[in-house]
């Protein structure tokens, strides 16, 4: 699943997109400081999103890095469509664009992992501790992770976008390249499946 090249109008919560057009222009000019600014603004939220969809910390970092590098590559096109000072400039939301790319990359990785024998992702050497180690000792955390991991890929992404990232349905649908009706149906089924799994665990009162 490939992200659209047109930047989304979705903004990450708590991030002011007012100067995204200027930031895109700086990225297009090849300024490393602009790239650092993008990472400072968006990387943590994007990593959180990717991790909750994939359940793998190292994989999530790869996804976030890939998304940011795609932005770096396409900054010239994006800046050309939203020149600073133009009417199109205020509509540019780099956070939304990155969010869409990360969502699609995460779902792609999940599908690829499922196709590989043994269900394992070939991973590069990384000093980051695996996610299992990070949540080790927290049984409740592990149980929740298993609940979400049991959901189908797209249902999982829908739950993460609406519950954890608190996106409105329309913005979450845009992040998944879906129409609103289809997304709402997907979300409904995801919530129902999650509740059913939660009940089956016997934790429901």
């Amino acid at each position: 699943m490939n992200a659209k090249s047109d930047p989304s109008t979705i903004a990450l919560p708590g991030i002011c997109p007012a100067d995204d057009a200027a930031l895109a222009a700086r990225l297009a000019a090849g300024e490393a400081s602009a790239l650092r600014e993008v990472i400072a603004r968006h990387a943590a939220a994007l990593h959180r999103l990717a991790y909750r969809i994939t359940g793998d910390a190292a994989e999530s970092e790869d996804i976030v890095q890939e998304a940011i590098l795609r932005l770096w590559d396409r900054a010239a096109q994006i800046a050309a469509r939203h020149p600073v000072g133009s009417l199109a400039a205020p509509n540019l939301r780099l956070g939304g664009w990155l969010q869409r790319v990360v969502t699609n990359l995460a779902i792609d990785r999940l599908r690829r992992t499922r196709r590989l024998p043994g269900g394992e992702v070939p991973d590069r050497a990384d000093d980051t501790p695996p996610a299992d180690h990070l949540i080790e000792g927290n049984e409740r955390d592990a149980a929740t992770r298993a609940l979400i991991a049991a959901l189908p890929d797209r249902q999982r992404a829908a739950i993460v976008l609406t519950y954890y990232e608190e996106l409105p349905n329309a913005e979450a649908a845009a992040a998944m390249n879906m129409n609103i009706k289809g997304f709402e149906s997907l979300l409904y089924r995801g919530r129902a499946a999650l509740r059913q799994a939660w009940t089956a665990q016997g934790d429901a009162p």
């Binding site: 970092e61 519950y163 995801g190 919530r191 009162p205």
Partner: protein, 299 residues
Amino acid sequence: MSVNEHDPGGPIVRASSLGRALDAYGVPSLSAGFANRVVASAEARPAPLPPLRRTRRRWRLGRTFAIGVVSFGALATAATATGLLQQFDIPVPSAETVWARIAGEAPAAANAPVPALASGATEPTAVAKVAIVGPIDTPEELREAFRRIDEVRKGRLAVRNERIGQRIDSAIERRRTAGLPVPTAEQETALRERIAAAEARRQDVAEARIAARREALQRKIDNGQALTREDIGQPWREDARSLRRREALRRLPPEERRAWREAYRARNGAAIAAPVPAPPAAVLEALPDPSPDPNGRLP
């Protein structure tokens, strides 16, 4: 309460047990040096390829198509204007004919029904192509010219006989419709035989004249003279009226000249099937005339 029993797909309340469990899903922080790695990767990354020129490609396709259409139109117009299509026997309708078809109007020429020739009859336009290129200066060329002319004459004769037969049938049918006496089978057979005999005599006279003319042409060839198109073809009528009509026709614009020619052909063709205003004299004389028509014309 984490499970909404009434709406299992409804929003998850954060204060519910399911909500609390979901909130407990912790997220590890990004590894140290993540930003440095990304920046280093970006700087080591090769320059991105230029964007695809999709809109330009669409324009190029459209432009190619437009140029093709315009070129074809120009070639077709030139071919029509120079008469190339008519040389290949492709009918080119006049502007009036095309407009009449579009507007649903029936021009006078188009009203004329197409003559229904019998299958045995030869359409003269299909064989009336005696094209003599350059002067004829050998007996072989002359024989070929005579052969082509004979083909045309044969076709014309077949059409003429067909028209005579149809006019007789039409006249008899009109008399029958009007309640007038019609010839009996024997009378009709005798009538047709007389007409055929008259036509044969006419042909004999024409062939004698043609034979004399061909002998003269043959002598010219034998004497080493070359024959032009005018020598071979039927000589133009040189009376003042014919000269005036030819000159007027020559001065017409090509479109009007073509329309006039089409109308002329349509009129000639319509004469077969249309009501016959003035039958040939031979038919008129041969038919029994019980009515005291002072003009001697069929009703």
